[in-house]
């Protein structure tokens, strides 16, 4: 029953909202407005659930001294610090000289950008080690990837500019994106 009741509620509400979309009657529109108001309220409660879940998971790791428990301390400390700082600073989001803004621009922002930038190195290393043309399909995938990678940057046209229009790398890349790629995305 713990699964069935919530699933039933979700199904009934979802089916009703799908049905409501096609009914132009004013009662239908009023119910839609009412439902939208309730979704805002429920959304706020799920935010509290999410924060509580995060704290619970990391507190559990710390109390049981699991393998990454030190990182859990960092996580909870960062969460608490920024939350308290934001709440206690009256103009946290608009004061460009405030500590909250400085923590965002000089700590959080560079850290997140760096983490994402590291992907370029990992992709290069993974491509070198794992991208092998072992089968026909793998070879086709490899060739498509090479064409699209070159076609989506200026160097593709610089290399193939001497070819007639329609046969240049950027044109072939465009064909791959417009037809095989789109067909696969639609099928998915």
């Amino acid at each position: 029953m713990r699964r069935e009741v919530p699933l039933t509620i979700v199904f009934v509400c979802g089916a009703f909202m799908a049905f409501q979309y096609f009914v132009p009657h004013y009662v239908s529109a009023a119910v839609y407005q009412y439902a939208l108001n309730w979704t805002i309220i429920i959304g706020i409660f799920t935010l509290a659930v999410g924060i509580g879940s995060l704290i619970h998971v990391h507190y559990d790791r710390i109390s049981r001294r699991k393998s990454t428990w030190l990182y859990s301390i960092v996580t909870l400390a960062g969460l608490s610090f920024m939350a308290v700082l934001g709440i206690l600073s009256p103009n946290a989001l608009t004061d460009s000289q405030g500590l909250f803004m400085k923590m965002y621009f000089y700590v959080l922002s560079p850290v997140q950008a760096t983490m994402f930038a590291l992907l370029a190195f990992f992709i290069a290393s993974a491509a070198y080690r794992a991208f092998r043309a072992k089968t026909v399909l793998a070879t086709l995938l490899l060739l498509s990837a090479v064409i699209v990678m070159l076609g989506r940057v200026p160097i593709g046209d610089m290399i193939s500019g001497w070819l007639p229009e329609g046969l240049r790398i950027s044109d072939v890349a465009r064909y791959i994106l417009d037809y095989p790629n789109t067909a696969a995305k639609r099928a998915r």
Partner: protein, 278 residues
């Protein structure tokens, strides 16, 4: 050592050499800038033409949802689009439905407006952040005031001159959503699907391939993908030396070297496999 020894060493190359080469080839073109030609694709041109066709005073929506992790790709795109809008005297409504980037987007919007003398409340409005983008996007389709009774700075929306007579998506000419999250689907499904708003997307290169299908079905009228899309838009607005164009050389050389690594890796694999058979 025979040549087979070289291929064996290449096949088992320490990954730190790969990291070093990628680091150098990405960094050097930034220091020693060499311009590269950037061709304009039809999907980016479509966004430019749409914005360029709007008469001064028209309200346009430019919601932005990216954070520090994707700002390298999307901040130049956002700045280029906002500069174009402000140069055309369009009125901009913006939201930031991703919590990590709210402050960043506020800064981008404010600085872009300042370049063209844009005044808050008269030329642009920043609604800020509310959780659960799907719910917010649905609610904005009815009335912006439902999820945002006040803007990011605490002003009542009805007190802002620009918001007079602007209730929902139907009062905007189009929506140009610059987004790095899966929330793009909400804009397509709700803003365009349910409310019929004209929608263009600016997304990271990684997810751009997912949205060509929507371009073909005319659910979106334009698509800007990654740093290349940003560079194309900068060219269209006549800013050839902005950050996206300047970064194209690095991107091009990095792509070339990754392909080179793939080719060398495959050669090393097959040569070593052949010798293994012998």
């Amino acid at each position: 050592m025979t040549s087979g020894g070289i291929w064996f060493r290449l096949a088992n190359l320490d990954r730190r050499w790969v990291y070093l080469v990628i680091g150098i080839v990405t960094f050097l073109p930034i220091i020693f800038y060499i311009g590269v030609p950037v061709s304009i694709t039809p999907e980016v041109q479509a966004v430019y033409r749409k914005i360029d066709s709007l008469s001064p005073g028209t309200v346009i929506m430019v919601p932005m949802e990216f954070g520090p992790s994707t700002m390298a790709e999307l901040e130049p795109m956002a700045r280029a689009v906002l500069r174009h809008c402000f140069s055309r005297d369009l009125k901009i409504i913006s939201t930031a439905l991703q919590i990590e980037g709210v402050i960043l987007m506020e800064k981008v919007l404010r600085e872009s407006a300042a370049e063209y003398g844009g005044k808050y409340g008269e030329d642009y409005v920043f609604l800020g952040y509310k959780p659960y983008p799907d719910i917010v996007i649905l609610n904005m389709g009815e009335n912006f005031r439902k999820p945002f009774p006040r803007d990011y700075y605490g002003n009542n929306l009805d007190d802002l001159p620009m918001m007079n007579g602007v209730a929902n998506y139907s009062n905007t000419a189009c929506i140009v959503n610059i987004n790095s999250t899966s929330g793009v689907d909400y804009w397509i499904n709700y803003a365009n699907g349910r409310y019929g708003a004209d929608l263009a997307l600016g997304v990271t290169a990684v997810i751009a391939t997912d949205y060509y299908a929507f371009l073909q079905s005319n659910q979106i009228f334009g698509l800007m993908g990654g740093l290349k899309g940003a560079a194309e838009y900068e060219r269209l607005i006549g800013r050839r030396k902005d950050i996206a164009n300047r970064s194209m050389t690095s991107v091009s050389v990095a792509h070339l070297f990754i392909i080179l690594f793939i080719v060398v890796g495959n050669f090393a694999y097959f040569i070593n496999r052949g010798k293994g058979r012998a």
